[in-house]
Symmetry: C2
Subunit: 115 residues, 2 copies
Amino acid sequence: MGRAADRDASLELLPGTLDLLILKTLAVGAEHGYGIAQRLKALSEDVLQVGESSLYPALQRLLLKGWVKAEWGASENNRRARYYTLTAAGRKQLTAEREEFDRLILAIHKVLNAT
Amino acid sequence: MGRAADRDASLELLPGTLDLLILKTLAVGAEHGYGIAQRLKALSEDVLQVGESSLYPALQRLLLKGWVKAEWGASENNRRARYYTLTAAGRKQLTAEREEFDRLILAIHKVLNAT
DNA sequence: GCTCGTCCCATCGACTGTCGATGGGAGCAT
DNA sequence: ATGCTCCCATCGACAGTCGATGGGACGAGC
């Protein structure tokens, strides 16, 4: 069990990317905060470690902008949980942010691979 | 004339990436602040627009950490200019940041391309 | 029936990094 | 002499993330 898994831990993500990652995660299906953090960690193979103190402010933002909506319910473990769902506007936003992200990454790569 | 060239302008880069971009730019050869900004703009085909007010604080940082050194000289246009050069430590740092960056981008892509 | 671990919510304060606005000086062309 | 481009730099505002912190409710084991 004690795998090399828990390496040095603590990896910050590029600021400004969190919204995009959350939107993408929710595009798969409704999920609660705690679950979003886990999905991100799992999908990124432990590279992305999003703390809940980063997550909740971000979710508030997304709620305010109308990109996600929230409703209380029960989790699989029968606990009180707030499920977040992508709205139509959120889906559009996801596409837009994704394009913008790709655009930036491409530009950065051009610089990074220059002679 | 009014070409599609000067599109909407104003494109912010991923915060935290600026240091890396500067280091990379200087790896090509010594350059002064103004020149760095131009190189970045050119190499990225106008996508990356680094303002000087972002650049100079960053350069101060790099100086303080000993990753670059600076010396006054004259520019090609015969103007007073401060030339920044990568130090040995800076070169190591560039490699490290590059790896870290790739690592993060890879992780983010995993999330973004998930089902 | 208690206790403890896990799940799940949320806020606050500190800090870092970027940007817009601003200011200035020195060369060169008209 | 006027003004344009080059090149320096700082300051204040602002956004976004993180660490620390706190709490409630379920389920398992004693």
